[in-house]
Structures are given as structure tokens and as C-alpha cells.
């Protein structure tokens, strides 16, 4: 029982933090504990959550992708343009998702087959794809989307916005894939020890490309949610969002070095960030404080446990040297 608890320690910590954050938020603002408000706020974070789940397998494999927000913009602009051109949404969806998966796969090919460092490659594609989004969008933005493209953003299932349900399904799928399929297990292996995996004839390169393609598709899905919620698209959509997405993944207990972390953790961290942000905004906390809180949270949540173990080892060391000194002196 304790072993199970310990292996889920990151997730448990997140749950505790979420509860604390919820209590704090409800103290900060009387509007927090309102189903409507909570649901609207939840809908806002779907876009970021989808990208976080797209990034998750890549980070587990020990790599990174900072171009996802730019891929989202390409998708949102494509969807908007197709809508205005009269293309039915059920045709546009597979086309755009395939395109963004291909954009992701380009990243994957450069990293896996050309052996280039993922941070550098995706730094390049971050700019390149953003430029493509601007080029496609042209001056101004794209508006006047048809109803079938924005239906999802204006519908509810019970009290829950449809986009939130979509997110939960997507998160569930990614989570199950990472836990139960070969892709998932090999991804963890690649992240933990890439050389051993290669020697064990794990198809490392194909899996890497696969992870990047999935991330691209998730960013494309996020772009779809974007046009649904905002009924418009511009080249600068989600510019800078990758920092928040990265925060969500890391906060979820996914090690940036790869090999560990759970989908559940990413879900919980997204929920935690959403709770804190919503609480602060509902209480009209000044923007600067919001920035500070998120930054401190990131450092504290990763550094905190390390600090604790550091203190523990130094205390142990002090005790041990006192013991030894005592024995020697006796």
C-alpha cells in the first residue's frame, strides 16, 4: 500500500495542492464556487491542456518540442480559411489534423533520423511554422466562420462545455496509450535509457517520429478548439503559449530528462494551474502577482522535494559525523 502511495507521490501532492488552491480561491473570491464560472474557466484551458498532452509523450521520450503553439496557429488559420471557403467541417478535420501531424513528423524526422538536438530544431520550427501561419492568414485575421466549425464551442453536455469533454476524452486516450500499449512502454524505455533501447532493437526512431506526429495532431486539435471558442483565427494565435504548456507538463511530475511521469499528473497539474489562475483572476489579483505566483509555484514544486531531501541528507551527515567524532573521542 505504501509502495503504491509512494509511486504516486507526485500525483498525490498535486491533489493536495489542488484542494488547497480551491480553498484559497474560494476565500479570495465569492464567485469561485459557481458551477457556471468553473465550467467557463475550464473551457478556457482546454487549448493548453491538449497541447500539454501532445507534449507529454515527447518529454517522456526525453526530448522536447517548443513549436506546438505555432502548429496550433497553422491549424486555426487553416480551419478558419476552409470554413470561409465553404468546406464542410468533417472534411476539414482530417485534412488539417493530417497536416499538423505532418508538421510534427518533420520535427520528429529531424530529431530522430538526422540526429539533431530537439530544442534547437523546434526552436527553428517555432519560428518557421509561425511564419507559415502569418502567411496563410494574411493581413488582419479570418472571421465569419460557418456554424459547423463553431458548434462545439457553443454546446454543452449537461453543464459541461463540449470542448472540456473533448479534452477529457483526448487525455484519456493518451493516458491509456502511454500506460498499456507498446508505444507507451517503449517511450518510457527510450526516455530512461536510449542506448539500451536501441540495442534491445526497440524501433527508437519510428517511435520518436510517432510521438512528434501525435503532438502535431494534438496541436491541430487544439487549433480546432480555438476556432470553436473564439470564432476567428490570426497568425499570432497562442503566441507564447508554449511556456505555460511546458509548465503544465513539468508540474505534472514528468521529468524533463525523460523516462517518467504520468498522464494523470499532467491532468492534475493542468487542473491545478487552472484553479489558481481562475481564482486569481476572479479576485482581480494584479497581473504581475499572477506571473510571480506561477513562477514560484514551478520552482517550489520541483525544488521543494529536492530541498527536503537535501536537508535530510545533510542532517544525516551531521549526525553521522557527530557519532563518529563521539566514538573517536571516547
Amino acid at each position: 500500500m505504501t509502495r503504491a502511495l509512494r509511486s504516486y507521490s507526485a500525483e498525490l501532492l498535486l491533489v493536495v495542492l489542488i484542494v488547497l488552491a480551491a480553498i484559497w480561491s474560494s476565500q479570495l473570491s465569492p464567485y469561485f464556487l459557481d458551477t457556471n464560472n468553473l465550467m467557463n474557466s475550464a473551457a478556457f484551458f482546454v487549448v493548453f491542456g491538449l497541447m500539454a498532452f501532445g507534449l507529454f509523450p515527447i518529454v517522456v521520450q526525453g526530448e522536447i518540442d517548443i513549436s506546438l503553439a505555432s502548429t496550433l496557429a497553422v491549424a486555426s488559420v487553416l480551419f478558419a480559411k476552409l470554413s470561409v471557403a465553404g468546406v464542410p467541417v468533417l472534411v476539414a478535420l482530417p485534412v488539417v489534423l493530417a497536416t499538423t501531424a505532418a508538421l510534427g513528423a518533420i520535427n520528429g524526422l529531424l530529431v530522430a533520423y538526422a540526429g539533431l538536438p530537439s530544442l534547437a530544431v523546434t526552436l527553428g520550427t517555432l519560428g518557421a511554422y509561425r511564419g507559415v501561419a502569418y502567411l496563410l492568414a494574411g493581413d488582419a485575421g479570418v472571421t465569419g466562420l460557418t456554424k459547423d466549425y463553431t458548434f462545439l464551442g457553443m454546446s454543452w453536455i449537461g453543464v459541461v462545455p463540449s470542448t472540456v469533454v473533448l479534452f477529457l476524452i483526448a487525455a484519456l486516450v493518451i493516458g491509456v496509450v502511454m500506460e498499456t500499449t507498446k508505444f507507451g512502454r517503449y517511450s518510457y524505455a527510450i526516455g530512461a535509457n536510449p542506448d539500451a533501447s536501441r540495442s534491445a532493437s526497440v524501433p527508437v526512431r519510428q517511435l520518436r517520429v510517432g510521438a512528434y506526429a501525435i503532438a502535431g495532431a494534438m496541436a491541430g486539435l487544439a487549433g480546432f478548439v480555438w476556432v470553436n471558442q473564439y470564432q476567428s483565427a490570426r497568425g499570432d494565435n497562442a503566441d507564447g503559449a508554449i511556456l505555460f504548456v511546458l509548465t503544465a507538463v513539468v508540474l505534472g511530475g514528468v521529468s524533463i530528462k525523460g523516462g517518467s511521469g504520468r498522464a494523470l499528473g499532467v491532468l492534475l497539474s493542468t487542473l491545478l494551474l487552472a484553479t489558481i489562475q481562475t481564482g486569481m483572476k476572479l479576485a482581480n489579483v494584479p497581473g504581475t502577482s499572477q506571473t510571480l505566483v506561477i513562477g514560484l509555484l514551478l520552482i517550489a514544486s520541483i525544488g521543494g522535494p529536492q530541498l527536503v531531501s537535501l536537508i535530510r541528507t545533510s542532517v544525516l551527515r551531521l549526525r553521522r559525523s557527530a557519532q563518529v567524532g563521539g566514538e573517536a573521542g571516547a
Partner: protein, 342 residues
């Protein structure tokens, strides 16, 4: 044999040095290619006046890239460089606008403040073992939040800056802008520190093979903290210069510059995995970026293409660099084995 002599054997003499030189040539070739293409498209590109303009716009980025190189060489990142630049510039100039006696000492104060901010980064990464991407992502937000809080949406206007710093931004020494000379000096000083000082060599050793460095008894934490302190100090200094160049400073100064700085470092052939590359390459990477910006305006190309070309340039530079590294690595591998066996 002891650790330092083995280190000396493994360091950049002969084989490793050749690797560096070849990587530098890669960036240089890329820059030459840009010059040729742009001159063909816009003859006005190839003039002393235009070259001066490019060098000036590259100066700030080149210095920031030099500081970042220290950290990247150890295999880490400093994403908070923009926030350090903005925080130091705003605070120092704001305080000096009220306490006029401080105006003569802005430079040492800025360097000191930047060093402190860098120290915090170093402690988080080295002692608390927070992965550098995470730690500096956090301090990016915290430092920016601090300056935002301090500034309270007000500007430090150009008239409130120390006159000597404003004059410095417009000064020309031997016909070349002072900022270009200062950037040159900073890059050379950092470059010399890395190649001549024992600390510098240890930095390379740590980055290229952390495990081996541990066994050779290198003080990993000390070196790492030193790298971050250096990067922070340089960032503070550069932030000050940027502030004087810009004139009116708000809390968003240098926001987002970390992406440009990383791009310059990467284009300049500094390996993101650590252990190889030089500040001269990083500085050249900054010049490459400035050249692209300048060339596109001269040719009259739309803004959107700038993003696209910059992004493609980064990917191309990294690809070239990887190719070069692979070739040289296999060559030096054989030589090192022979050396150690000897």
C-alpha cells in the same frame, strides 16, 4: 597520471581545437552565403555603412549570447536572460534617476545585481538539482513579475537616464559605434577566460562528459554556479546597455529575447548538449540573425517571411553543425584513443 594532466591531454589542443575551428568555419560559411545572396538581391547591402548598421544591431544580442554560452557549454540553459536584462535595467535606471549620485556607478551595480540573479539560478540548478529548463523557466516568470511589480506600468523616460550612458549609445570610436567595440571586448574577454583560465577548461570538461568530470574530482556545483553567475552578470550589463540604447524603458524591456539568444547560440555552433562550441561562434550567430533581419528589409520582403527564414536558418545551421561534428568526432575519437594509449 593525475586529473589535471589527463584533462590537459583531453582538452582542446590539436584534435578538439580543430573541431572548434571547423564548426566556426561552418557558421562563417553560412554568413558568407547570406552576404552573397543579399548583395545579389539588393546591391546596397554591401556597403560599409550597412555593415556598421548590422554590427550595431547585433551588438546587444552578441553579448547576451556570449553570456548564454557559458551556461550552454555546461549542458544547461538560462531562459531567464531576458527577465534579468529587463529587471536590472529598469531598477538601476529608476533608482539612479532619483539618487543622482548613483549615475556614475550604474555599470558595477548592474553587474552585481545581474550576478545575484544569476547566483539564484545557479543554486537552483546546481544544489537543488532542478533541471535548468524548469528552474530558469520559473525565474523567467519570477524576475519578470518582479520588474512588472516594481515598475507599476510606469516608464523610465530617456531624459532620466544618466547622460554619459546616453552619449555612450551614440558615441563612435574610430568611426565605429562604441557598442560594437564593447561587444567585441566582452566576447574576447569571455572567450579568453574560457580558453586560458583553468575554470574555463573545467567548464568544457563538465559539459562534454559530466560523469568523467565527476570522477576527476571537478567541483561540479561550483563550476555550474560560476557559469550562471557569469551569465547573470553579463545579462545585467547588457540590459543596462540595451536600456540606454532604447531610451524609454518599460517593464517589458527584453521580453522574449531568450529565444533570439538561444537561436544565436545554436546557429553559432554551440552544442546544446554542452561541451563544445565557442563564444566567437555565438557572437557570429548573433551577426547572422542581424544580417537576415537587415537583408530582408533591404530587399523589401514582408515581415512574415522574416520569421520563416529565421526559423529555417536555425534548422539549417543546426544541421550543418551536426554534420560537421559527426565528421570531426569520428576523426578525433581515433586520435584520442591513440593519445591516451600512448
Amino acid at each position: 597520471m593525475n586529473s589535471s594532466s589527463l584533462l590537459a591531454r583531453l582538452r582542446l589542443s590539436g584534435s578538439g581545437g580543430a573541431a572548434l575551428r571547423v564548426r566556426f568555419i561552418g557558421v562563417l560559411a553560412f554568413q558568407l552565403l547570406l552576404v552573397i545572396v543579399f548583395t545579389a538581391l539588393a546591391p546596397r547591402f554591401l556597403s560599409w555603412d550597412n555593415a556598421q548598421s548590422i554590427l550595431f544591431t547585433a551588438a546587444i544580442l552578441a553579448m547576451a549570447a556570449a553570456g548564454q554560452t557559458l551556461v550552454v557549454l555546461t549542458g544547461n540553459l538560462d531562459l531567464s536572460v531576458g527577465s534579468i536584462m529587463g529587471l536590472v535595467a529598469y531598477v538601476v535606471f529608476d533608482v539612479s534617476s532619483q539618487a543622482h549620485w548613483l549615475m556614475a556607478f550604474t555599470v558595477p551595480v548592474a553587474i552585481g545585481l545581474g550576478a545575484v540573479l544569476g547566483l539564484i539560478n545557479g543554486v537552483l540548478v546546481a544544489y537543488l538539482k532542478i533541471p535548468s529548463m524548469v528552474a530558469t523557466l520559473g525565474t523567467l516568470s519570477v524576475y519578470r513579475g518582479l520588474v512588472s511589480f516594481y515598475a507599476n506600468a510606469m516608464e523610465v523616460t530617456s531624459g532620466e537616464l544618466p547622460q554619459w550612458m546616453r552619449d555612450l549609445a551614440t558615441a563612435r570610436w574610430l568611426g565605429v559605434s562604441s557598442y560594437v567595440w564593447i561587444a567585441l571586448a566582452v566576447v574576447i574577454v569571455v572567450g579568453l577566460a574560457l580558453s586560458q583560465l583553468p575554470w574555463g577548461r573545467k567548464l568544457y570538461a563538465l559539459g562534454s562528459n559530466p560523469r568523467a568530470a565527476y570522477y576527476y574530482g571537478l567541483n561540479e556545483n561550483g563550476i555550474l554556479v560560476g557559469a550562471y553567475v557569469g551569465a547573470g552578470a553579463i545579462a545585467g550589463f547588457v540590459g543596462l546597455l540595451l536600456g540606454a540604447q532604447v531610451g524609454n524603458i518599460n517593464s517589458l524591456l527584453a521580453f522574449g529575447i531568450e529565444m533570439q539568444v538561444l537561436a544565436a547560440v545554436v546557429i553559432g555552433g554551440v552544442s546544446i548538449w554542452g561541451g563544445s562550441g565557442s563564444v566567437y561562434g555565438a557572437a557570429l550567430g548573433a551577426i547572422v540573425l542581424a544580417t537576415i533581419n537587415n537583408g530582408l528589409v533591404l530587399v523589401g520582403v514582408q515581415e512574415f517571411y522574416r520569421l520563416l527564414f529565421q526559423g529555417l536558418a536555425i534548422v539549417a545551421a543546426v544541421a550543418v553543425d551536426a554534420l560537421v561534428q559527426k565528421r570531426v568526432l569520428t576523426a578525433t575519437h581515433r586520435r584520442v584513443i591513440l593519445e591516451v594509449a600512448a
